[in-house]
């Protein structure tokens, strides 16, 4: 395998958790609720997967528990933001702080223990003959295939079904949606919960396919990068795929340059994804300064029926 193919494989492996978290963020924000708790949710997803997988040895059970736990946290977020109309920024920050504290607390007992296995791979041996494609797609794991499928499903859901129309209506103009008979609160609750569960699955993917054991603060800011990626992707699942893999590539590029014996200290290479996030957001902001950014129009504002604006 040449350098580019290896980098592509690494980019997909590092990009999949980012992709899942970004898709979760897109679902949240399309419904009009900001989800800044992504980092805490990913950590909770990761730690639950580790604990259940190590204790029971059952991968499916571990994934389901991770999804359930983060879905419950998503419901807490929606209760605060939808029903109580609390400050969404603060609720997200609380989620991140609580998630990182609780995950460190729960994960203390299994810290550093190896997982019984990784995410199983789908072996498409007939692809192996083809040079680059075979190397990349021949042995991808189920979660990666699932994330690719999800991109397609969410794209179709958001842009080509009436459910997606309702979702977009709730995120753009909840008052109009309410008048049209769409259940604004119910839709917000469901998508915020589903989005949180996806972000939790992203955390599970981190430990199953990327970092093999639990460590405190394992995600190292990837949840926040995903929050940024939602903006790069302009709330669009197909763009999210490319953005997530681009960042996956950046993430693994630093590591690979280091392996090649670079003179640049590794600390600077590790800074690349964070700095590029800021620069790309600045570029997008500059380019789109006079254009609509694609932000759901009522993002961040709670909906109060019968309130005048």
């Amino acid at each position: 395998m040449d350098f580019t193919t290896q980098l592509l494989i690494a980019a997909i492996s590092a990009g999949t958790p980012l992709l899942l978290a970004t898709l979760g963020g897109i679902l949240n924000e399309r419904a009009g609720i900001i989800q800044l708790g992504a980092e805490g949710l990913m950590l909770m997803g990761a730690v639950t997967t580790c604990i259940v997988y190590i204790r029971s040895g059952n991968l499916l059970l571990a994934l389901l528990t991770a999804i359930a736990v983060t879905a419950v946290l998503g419901m807490v977020h929606s209760f605060l933001c939808v029903t109580l109309r609390a400050n969404q920024t603060m609720s997200g920050l609380a989620m991140t702080l609580f998630g990182s504290g609780l995950s460190a607390y729960l994960g203390k007992s299994i810290s550093g223990l190896p997982l019984p296995g990784t995410s199983p791979k789908l072996n498409l041996s007939w692809l192996n003959g083809i040079p680059v494609i075979g190397d990349i797609f021949g042995r991808m794991d189920y979660l990666t295939w699932f994330s690719l499928l999800l991109v397609l499903v969410l794209h179709l859901l958001i842009h080509h079904t009436s459910w997606g129309l309702h979702l977009r209506a709730v995120g753009d103009s909840p008052a109009t949606a309410d008048v049209m008979g769409i259940r604004v609160q119910l839709i917000r609750y469901s998508y915020v919960t589903a989005g949180a569960a996806l972000i939790g699955l992203a955390g599970a993917d981190m430990v199953l396919a990327y970092a093999p054991t639990w460590n405190e603060g394992l995600t190292a800011g990837r949840g926040w990068i995903a929050v940024g990626l939602v903006i790069f992707a302009r709330w669009n699942p197909l763009r999210a795929l490319f953005c997530a893999y681009f960042f996956g590539a950046l993430d693994s590029l630093g590591f690979r340059i280091q392996l090649l014996g670079s003179v640049v200290p590794s600390y600077f290479l590790k800074m690349i994804p964070y700095i590029v996030t800021i620069l790309v957001l600045m570029y997008l902001g500059y380019r789109n300064r006079n254009k609509p950014s694609g932000t759901p129009e009522s993002l961040g504002t709670p909906y109060v029926r019968e309130q005048r604006f």
Binding site: S91, A94, L97, F98, A104
Partner: protein
């Protein structure tokens, strides 16, 4: 009741449904958006509820919550050593929390105090490395100036993308935290590593001339004065100056402020410079007053804890002093439970849940129970 209302449980309970004769339920909840002032007891209640919630997790771990909380409280406030340690931790929380409060006044969500503190500490250490033989007064002054400037620069790097490129400051400030921590790792493992430090990552120890004076034999240093002076200046500035008036105006109604001709962009840049500068002082005070050298983990998440300190204090100066002491105690208490085999992250868990209950409590009190007619 309309079918729309009936089908959504949350809406049915909380929405002020149009009053109709013959309702089934005699009481209903009404949302009053004019009640923006939250009651004085909401921070206290949220602390109590957070303690109860975390007690469940502690009990699930097979420990007695009473023992754990007793241990934490005794560790933080029970002994004179514990109490001065709490005050030592309260200093960076007060300085960072104050900076965060200034920014939050106009809804600039700075969560980069952690990074701003780190670069402040690095800049102060740079003074000790490049100007090692300055007399005490000049050395401390220069460290302070460098710390403030580095923190303010880090704040500016968040403010400029926000004002000129429309980039959400939450993301920028957080990304810069990671950049600052990696830069810290680089200098303590690389160019600034103490050659006599037995390969331990960290800068050489500061000399007495480079260390802040301490109170008697305790570790409580003069940084406390910096914090208290800053709080008084904050109070006076916000209360009595034109700048403070404009800040309050933007906080109350940004659209009206813009029509009144207030330069919101300029204000965002100024508050981020102040916010970063104060965190920079905190970083300088940490290295110069407490650790006396630059090393990894210079901050156990002060920048994040300070967010809750500021929010719990409702951005109020006196409240900031009280909450920073409380959270200083929480951090010290977190360390003291390590002796009974619990991780210190228990304090982070408490902090997150306090914030949850606080924002919920602020909103819950806006709902009023009314007898439906």
């Amino acid at each position: 009741m309309s079918p729309k209302n009936g089908s959504n449980a949350a809406a049915a309970v909380l929405e002020p449904a149009p009053a109709k004769p013959g309702k089934r339920f005699p009481l209903r909840l009404e949302y009053d958006s004019s009640r923006t002032r939250s009651p004085w007891w909401s921070p206290i209640l949220s602390v109590i509820l957070a303690l109860l919630l975390c007690a469940i997790f502690i009990a699930a771990n097979g420990m007695s919550p009473v023992t754990v909380y007793e241990k934490m409280f005794k560790g933080a406030f029970g002994t004179s050593y514990g109490f001065t340690e709490t005050m030592v931790k309260a200093i960076p929380l007060l300085l960072c929390g104050l900076g965060i409060a200034v920014a939050y006044r106009i809804s600039v969500w700075n969560i980069g105090a952690e990074g701003q503190l780190t670069v402040g500490a690095m800049a102060a250490t740079a003074v000790t490395i490049y100007f090692p033989d300055l007399p005490s007064f000049w050395s401390i002054t220069l460290m302070l100036v460098f710390g403030v400037m580095a923190g303010a620069l880090w704040g500016l790097m968040t403010a400029i993308p926000r004002t000129h490129f429309g980039v959400n400051e939450l993301i920028t400030s957080l990304m810069l935290n990671y950049v600052a921590l990696l830069a810290l790792d680089y200098v303590v493992f690389g160019p600034w590593k103490d050659p006599k430090g037995f390969n331990f990552p960290g800068s050489p120890m500061f000399t007495a001339a480079q260390s802040l004076p301490v109170l008697g034999t305790t570790r409580l240093h003069i940084g406390l004065i910096f914090g208290l002076v800053a709080v008084v200046i904050y109070y006076l500035m916000v209360k009595f100056t034109r700048w403070g008036y404009e800040l309050r105006l933007i906080g109350a109604n940004p659209t009206a402020a813009r029509y009144a001709g207030i330069h919101i962009k300029r204000h965002i840049i100024i508050v981020m410079l102040i916010s970063g500068g104060l965190a920079g002082i905190a970083g300088m005070a940490e290295v110069s007053g407490v650790t006396h050298k630059l090393m990894q983990g210079i901050s156990p998440g002060y920048g994040y804890t300070a967010i809750i300190v500021a929010w719990l204090a409702k951005l109020n100066p006196l409240g900031l002093i009280i909450t920073s002491v409380l959270f200083g105690g929480l951090i010290v208490g977190g360390y003291s439970v390590q002796t009974i085999g619990l991780p210190s992250s228990i304090s982070e868990m408490l902090q997150g849940s306090i914030l949850f209950f606080l924002i919920a409590g602020d909103m819950i009190h806006r709902f009023r129970v009314r007898r439906s007619v």
